[in-house]
């Protein structure tokens, strides 16, 4: 038999305990697959695997028990159905996401399209170590932004239309941070920006649509959730748009490339350089954008 090591070198095939058997990792962005893609995955698992798939902790799909001889064949078979191999090793991994505002009433942002953009920009890029990106739509944090090397959490910039506010007090009652108060019987409501975490619950619950929300992005840097448990830190104010988001994300990746040693996780690099060094670098990237800040 002619072993095809090319497919192995390209990544996505995880060596199993069983000799010459591999668990094939598939590319999934934001946990989203079409029914047609699921059908071709099912067929590939039956033809080339053991008739089963494994759902990974980060929304990935793996087909275990693929024989070394079949690595190219299974890739070609899946490619015809619009499914490609995932990556392993020191690279940008699967980009995770919740369903976002296309589906979820709680979400503040369109996580699905953002995850695709992030994946197109970074997926598979070789870095000093693995690098995980995830997008969650709101403070409920279903997709655990802080456990990623770079996590994104949706939020809302808030504005109150004082004319429309009836002073009903619903938002005051449901605000979990005590950021809202009533000035008098008929309102309007007052916002304490120091206590507000921009979750946007006031916007979605307001009976008179007096609260207006504009999507924003909170970025978390340096999370890990494996051998070392580390919570990602928000080093920037809430970002206004995707331009700001990608300016910051590009700089974070550059910071990792410039300062990281081979096999060193982003968090370790940050701890060595100091959080302030990364924070300054990110702030510089945002300040350096032409016409930025609005």
């Amino acid at each position: 038999m002619e072993a095809d090591y090319k497919a192995l070198k390209n990544g996505g095939f995880m060596r199993q305990r069983q000799k010459n058997k591999f668990s094939m990792r598939l590319k999934v962005v934001g946990g989203d697959l079409s029914a047609a893609q699921i059908r071709v995955i099912a067929e590939a698992a039956e033809r080339f695997g053991a008739g089963r798939v494994h759902l990974t902790s980060r929304q990935g799909v793996e087909i275990p028990f693929v024989d070394l001889r079949d690595t190219e064949a299974v890739k070609a078979f899946l490619a015809k159905g619009g499914v490609s191999a995932g990556v392993c090793g020191p690279r940008v991994r699967t980009v995770t996401a919740c369903q976002g505002d296309a589906v979820c009433p709680s979400a503040c942002i369109d996580t699905a399209s953002l995850a695709r953009e992030i994946s197109e920009r970074y997926f598979g890029r070789e870095l000093p170590h693995k690098f995980k990106l995830g997008v969650t739509g709101c403070v409920n944090n279903c997709l655990k932004a802080e456990e990623n090397d770079l996590g994104v959490k949706g939020a809302l910039f808030l504005e109150l239309d004082g004319e429309a506010c009836t002073g009903c007090g619903l938002c005051v009652k449901i605000c979990r941070d005590g950021a809202l108060s009533l000035a008098g019987e008929e309102g309007p409501v007052r916002l304490d920006p120091a206590r507000c975490n921009n979750c946007g619950r006031c916007v979605s619950s307001c009976p008179s649509d007096a609260w207006k929300g504009t999507p924003g992005y909170r970025l978390y840097f340096g999370g890990t959730f494996g051998n070392v448990i580390g919570i990602g830190e928000a080093l920037l104010p809430l970002l206004r748009d995707k331009e700001e988001l990608f300016a910051a994300a590009d700089r974070a990746v550059e910071f990792f490339v410039e300062r990281g040693r081979p096999g060193e996780r982003f968090r370790s690099v940050i701890l060595r350089a100091g959080w302030q060094a990364l924070a300054d670098s990110l702030a510089g990237a945002l300040a350096g954008r032409a016409g930025g800040g609005q």
Binding site: L170, K173, I174
Partner: protein, 90 residues
Amino acid sequence: MSDVDRGGKPPGTVDTTGAVCPMTFVLAKMALDEIGEGDEIIIRLNEGEALANVPRSIKDEGHRILRLTDNGDGTYNLLVRKGAPPEGPQ
């Protein structure tokens, strides 16, 4: 606005305070299904999760929240006017 004449009849009340999610919303939705467009109903809610979620769901379904009253006992009365049925297939 509404062509339904309720003849000054006070709106009915649905009490969701004995229920938890998702029954709080289901009870409110069932009660709204039984009244006519433009009619009003009072939905009694517990503070906390029901107060955070039910008004949002009702608003999303096209109904109008007219008033929120604090009953002073950890419950609230939400006065709702039924909106037009949603467009498109359900």
